[in-house]
């Protein structure tokens, strides 16, 4: 059973400890009897199970012991190991989202040392390509995009810092408890780092209607979105269904939803969190003071001309804002409440008056004068310091936290009673409403940090299980719990509950390190099984067509990103540059509905970077990735769909991505090998990671009699073998 955090004296010595008096503040809380489904496995902490001993084999890896025992119980065989070529291709795609090179294959096949496979895994896990691959899985879960969505779909110029934070964290093997804590509450951490602030961008990644006519509703939508997503991503629970009413299938009363939301209510939704280092700030301050001094007189002259018109235009624009926003702008900056500060930040763009607008309003004579002054000012641009980096994220608003209300039917206009932050009843001590003690600090109310600490307790029933299950799903194609974000009563039961609990225990006792867990899973014989061992298939397929018992490896299909990145890699075009603002391809730069066009990245060498670095527009998605089930980024996506359609085939056949790769690869092959047979051989090695059979060799050579080499490349890029892993 879960126990509340012990007095965290060591950690909190600098903070004042505040106990939130909760008591029964809610008329809506029902008399507390045991909730329904109180015994559901996922509400109780995983026990560390004994490693079982299979009767007919003695596997080295604990994972295999758990799997084999189950297979024996249902009288199913396991499959023979895959070939080394297949294994290397599988693992390289799995960990990097890219194919192995022919040299890497040759080395592995030739390596007779007993730890050859382990060396491969260590090499793959140490590469920065790992973070780019697994970062994408995480971005699916957190609904990442680079724009706001809705009508204007404005760019979020700093969203990429969160994307890079994820990649960096994974590559550094940051412990998952820290990764989670930073995303929920990085701003509340003592000695917070820039990365910890950037991480809180997690909460704001959903779509946002910036010009909503109802800004209070807009704020609630964002709060709901972050509550729902935290529930799905970290708890693996569909808590969102309890927003409008008690959950129909799970023992989550509606109060649970708003108690969870109350952890987030005090937060201001910021897009201007300074993430510069103190040295950079000092440097910037100095440079800026110099610049201000240099330009003082010219700026004062400009102001004298502009100010009257600026005031008039500003007033006119302000009139178009809703009354509460008008009042916020009229309140002197230092007197604004937290809500007003946010409202001003969110509407600033709409009342901003540009120099061009002012120029238009000026009398002819003064216009020339202003232009001249502006040119003078411009001549100092070289001395102007570049703006300091900012990020999206949360900080708690100053002052007492806003109240959280239970909202009937989830509607803003129907508040039914105040609630205090609290954990889900089924996960609380004694499965009853328990007051939560929260330590506030100078950094904020401490609510989100308290939530993060609760989530990352070693014996939390869900956090570790949910995460190891996500790792398993991405390695094996299907989770031990197939409903990866639904561990509730209504979700699917785990196929191997003891294995799940063992993995969760290993994860926590190993310091929440992901790379160690990847390695454990990939070292298992279960992972190394063949996809199609005919003998095993004959016996097992009819009994277990879905491979629930893991008698073979599942056949995995490459995602759109892996396909595109592979095409770039094999054709020698891949630009390996990491990080930075998203790359806007010309194909996704145009207008889309009410959104303005976005400037395509001017440097064309950027177009061939990995797909995770492409600018993700909500209203105009990359057609290539879209046809391969790119999730729509508006809701958390726990598992990608895998569709097969004719339009998808047309895309891979005819898209520029394929044809340019085919042409470039053909050139490369012609440079590397002089004869047709050698070129064919090399094409199979580069694209499919193996030698062609003699039938294939003959067929390809025959094909090349009336087709160019680039067509052979295009054909192989379209084969099932290219997009499905053995």
């Amino acid at each position: 059973m879960l126990i509340l955090p012990e007095s965290p004296a060591m950690f909190y010595c600098r903070f004042t400890l505040v106990l939130c008096a909760l008591a029964a503040c809610l008329p809506v809380i029902r008399a507390e009897s045991k909730p329904e489904h109180a015994d559901h496995w996922a509400w109780h902490s995983p026990k560390r199970p004994e490693i079982p001993v299979p009767k007919h084999s003695k596997p080295q890896q604990p994972i295999d012991a758990f799997v084999r025992v189950r297979l024996e119980a249902v009288a199913l065989p396991h499959s023979k190991p895959a070939t080394r070529e297949q294994l290397l291709r599988r693992a390289t795609f799995d960990l990097h989202g890219l194919p192995p090179t022919p040299d890497e294959i040759r080395d592995f096949v030739a390596d007779s040392s007993p730890n050859a496979w382990e060396k491969v895994l260590d090499r793959l896990l140490a590469s920065p390509r790992y973070g780019e691959r697994w970062g994408r899985h995480w971005l699916d879960l957190v609904r990442y995009a680079d724009t706001n969505g809705y009508e204007f779909d404005e760019s979020r110029p700093d969203a990429w810092r969160y994307r890079d934070y994820v990649i960096r964290s994974l590559n550094a093997d940051k412990p998952y408890d820290q990764f989670l804590t930073e995303q929920l509450a990085g701003d509340e951490l003592p000695n917070r780092t820039a990365d910890a602030l950037i991480a809180t961008g997690f909460n704001l990644l959903g779509p946002d209607m910036t010009d909503s006519s109802d800004q209070a509703q807009r704020r609630l939508n964002t709060l709901n979105d972050m509550t729902d997503t935290a529930g799905l991503a970290f708890l693996g629970l569909t808590i969102a269904c309890a927003r409008c009413h008690d959950h129909k299938f799970e023992p989550f009363p509606q109060t649970d939803y708003f108690r969870l939301q109350a952890f987030f209510t005090p937060a201001a939704f910021r897009r201007d969190l300074s993430v510069a280092s103190p040295e950079d700030v000092a440097k910037h301050t100095r440079a800026n003071a110099e610049y201000q001094e240099l330009t003082r007189s010219v700026r004062e002259s400009i102001d004298a001309l502009e100010q009257p018109i600026r005031t008039r235009l500003f007033d006119a624009k302000l009139k178009k804002l809703p009354p509460e926003a008008r009042a916020a702008h009229r309140t002197p900056a230092e007197q604004r409440t937290g809500a007003q500060l946010e409202l001003v930040a969110n509407t600033e763009r709409r009342v901003a008056v540009s120099s061009a607008e002012i120029l238009k309003e000026l009398p002819e004579a003064e216009r020339a004068k202003l232009v001249e002054l502006q040119n003078q000012l411009k001549s100092f641009d070289g001395r102007k310091p570049a703006p300091l980096p900012v990020a999206m994220g949360l900080t708690d608003r100053p002052g007492p936290p806003a109240k959280t209300f239970l909202l009937e039917r989830g509607e803003l206009k129907l508040p039914a009673g105040e609630v205090q932050p609290g954990y889900l009843v089924v996960l609380s001590s004694g499965q009853r409403t328990v007051p939560v003690s929260i330590a506030s600090s100078s950094a904020g109310t401490g609510r989100r940090l308290t939530l993060a600490k609760w989530l990352t307790q070693p014996d939390h029933p869900l956090t570790a299980r949910v995460m190891v299950n996500r790792l398993w799903q991405n390695h094996f194609g299907r989770g031990l719990v197939p409903t990866a974000s639904d561990f509730g009563v209504h979700g699917e039961a785990p196929s191997h509950p003891e294995l799940l609990d063992w993995l969760a225990n290993e994860f926590v006792s190993g310091g929440w390190k992901l790379k160690r867990m990847h390695k454990l899973m990939l070292l298992s014989e279960t992972y190394q099984q063949s996809v199609n061992d005919a003998e095993a298939h004959r016996v097992a397929h009819a009994k277990d067509p879905e491979n629930r018992w893991l008698w073979r490896m599942n056949r995995l299909r490459l995602e759109g990103e892996a396909i595109r990145d592979s095409l770039l890699l094999v054709s020698g075009q891949l630009n390996p540059k990491m990080g930075g603002p998203g790359v806007v391809l010309p194909t996704t730069a145009g207008v889309a509905g009410g959104s303005r066009p976005i400037t395509a990245t001017p440097d064309a060498t950027e177009y061939t970077r990995r797909s995770i670095y492409l600018f993700a527009r909500r209203n105009l998605r990359d057609p290539f990735l879209e046809s391969f089930d790119l999730p729509d980024s508006n809701l958390s996506c726990p598992r990608r769909e895998r569709s097969t359609t004719a339009t998808q085939s047309l895309t891979l056949l005819n898209a520029e991505e394929t044809t340019s790769a085919a042409t470039a690869l053909a050139k490369r092959l012609q440079n590397e090998s002089k004869t047709t047979p050698a070129q064919v051989n090399r094409a199979y090695q580069v694209l499919l990671g193996r030698q062609p059979t003699s039938t294939e060799q003959t067929r390809a050579e025959r094909f090349l009699q009336d087709s160019p080499l680039s067509e052979l490349c295009r054909a192989l890029m379209n084969t099932n073998e290219f997009v499905y892993l053995d």
Partner: protein, 476 residues
């Protein structure tokens, strides 16, 4: 995948043999035998196979004519003599407070400048902007009591298309193709024909698949030789070369499959390449209107500058319906479209001029070809407009009351269902929320809207969320 979703009351796809026969598969008995051997898994791998709805229904296909930007109901299909009488006065206090996008609640009322006349046997009044459509009025069921939830474009566009003001949910067309599959695998199942001037506000999520598999998302189709993105063979590749390359792919794939035993996903992907090739040759034919008779071309207004563009898209819609496309959505109006905040007369006048004749032609043409009974045609925008004026000559957004119409597909024509209040501000009798309209559309197609569900993040999601009542009067 699909099979694991709760899909209540919808029978499994018709047999795979039936589907293959219909689709005219030509890739040999080897694959066919393999497919038949794994019928259930095969159904899983082909979510677009045609399916029967749980209930027999006359409507089998849908054309949604979306008037992007929000057309005024008071100036089109909802005459308001009292508004004319009260022209120039302030909104009477008895109407209470009202929310609009641009805060026009205190503005004066603006009479329609249009003349309404009774038409057809039903005697329904239609504005004089629609001389052609007026002749079809006995086919129309006009819903005058519609209302929605938001005063903004994108939220309302999403609501009308996906049942939610929040972005990212599956669109109506996606739900319908999820429920019914499609009869023509040589074309996308759900086709979107946007205005060449621009997309509706809110962009592609309006025809997105949301959490449904991407198989069900709307595909943009345009006229001309290259109607679908990536349809054309790459530059410099002849049809013969494309066929050779495809043959090479197919041969490699068959060998790959043979060495791996039956696998419905691999088989489905082999089939998808054959479909892709046929789509390459077939789709340009679908959008090639050169074979249409002069009479038909004139009917749709292709010979006139102002009607030619929208007329062409209406004609394309008919050609696609004829060839079994399940859901066609046409947008009238560019990104601003019918959004007449000022000079409504000029704005609506032009758009009516562009669309009246083509829409009437579409109804007429569908009818004479015997397709109207099985094709549900829907007309409407994301909301209506205010009876209060904006500036001197425009109207603001009005989600509180507006009109739409339906025709064909089992709809009882020549009737008006519901009404707005005396001045057209709010829906008043037989009110129809957007969820009700969606419930009715699904009902006309043979589905109970509460039972067409897809399990996502622990919830059986549906188009109508937690609401929706079928408007029974629509079927008479």
């Amino acid at each position: 995948m699909i099979r694991s979703q709760l899909f209540e009351h919808t029978p499994a796809p018709r047999s795979r043999r039936d589907f293959l026969a219909k689709a005219g598969f030509g890739f040999g008995s080897l694959a066919l035998t393999a497919l038949l051997a794994e019928d259930s898994a095969g159904a899983d791998a082909d979510p677009l196979a045609p399916k029967s709805p749980p209930r027999d229904a006359s409507a089998k296909q849908v054309i949604f004519l979306f008037m992007s930007g929000g057309p005024s109901h008071m100036d089109t299909f909802d005459p308001k003599p009292d508004l004319t009488r009260l022209h120039g006065e302030k909104l009477p206090a008895s109407f209470g407070p009202v929310t609009t996008r641009r805060g026009v609640d205190k503005n004066r009322l603006l009479a329609s400048k249009r003349t309404f006349r009774k038409h057809g046997q039903s005697g329904i009044e239609v504005a004089d902007w629609f001389p052609h459509l007026a002749k079809c009025v006995d086919e129309l069921c006009i819903l005058r009591g519609c209302y929605g939830d938001s005063v903004t474009h994108p939220e309302s566009v999403y609501l009308m298309n996906t049942g939610s003001i929040l972005m990212g949910r599956p669109s109506l067309g996606s739900w319908v193709t999820y429920g019914l599959g499609t009869e023509n695998r040589n074309m996308p199942a759900f086709v979107v024909l946007p205005d060449p001037g621009g997309w509706p506000k809110g962009g592609s999520p309006a025809w997105g698949n949301g959490f449904l598999p991407s198989t069900f998302q709307g595909t943009l189709v345009r006229g001309g030789k290259s109607p679908i993105t990536h349809l054309d063979s790459p530059k410099g590749i002849s049809t013969a070369q494309q066929r050779r390359t495809l043959d090479f792919i197919a041969e490699s794939n068959r060998e790959h499959l043979a060495s791996r035993g039956a696998d419905s996903e691999l088989e489905a992907r082999i089939a998808a390449y054959e479909l892709a090739f046929r789509m390459q040759s077939h789709a340009p034919e679908v959008v090639d209107i050169s074979q249409e008779t002069k009479e038909t071309r004139t009917l749709y207004g292709l010979d006139r500058k102002d009607t030619a563009e929208f007329g062409t898209r209406c004609l394309l819609a008919r050609r696609m319906i004829e060839r079994g496309v399940r859901f066609v959505q046409l947008y009238s109006g560019d990104t601003n479209g019918w959004d007449a905040h000022s000079d409504l007369e000029a704005n609506h006048g032009k758009l009516c001029q562009q669309s009246d004749q083509p829409i009437a032609a579409l109804l007429t043409d569908l009818k004479r070809r015997g397709l109207l009974d099985s094709t549900l045609v829907i007309w409407g925008g994301e909301f209506g407009r205010t009876p209060m004026t904006e500036g001197t000559s425009g109207r603001d957004h009005n989600p509180h009351g507006f009109c739409m119409w339906m025709a064909g597909g089992g709809v009882k024509g020549g009737q008006v269902v519901g009404s707005t209040d005396a001045i057209g501000l709010r829906a008043e009798t037989d009110k129809a929320h957007v969820h009700d309209i969606h419930a009715t559309i699904l009902d006309l197609l043979g589905f109970h809207h509460k039972r067409l569900t897809f399990r996502h993040n622990g919830r059986n999601e549906r188009l109508t969320d937690n609401g929706g009542e079928v408007i029974s009067a629509v079927t008479g």
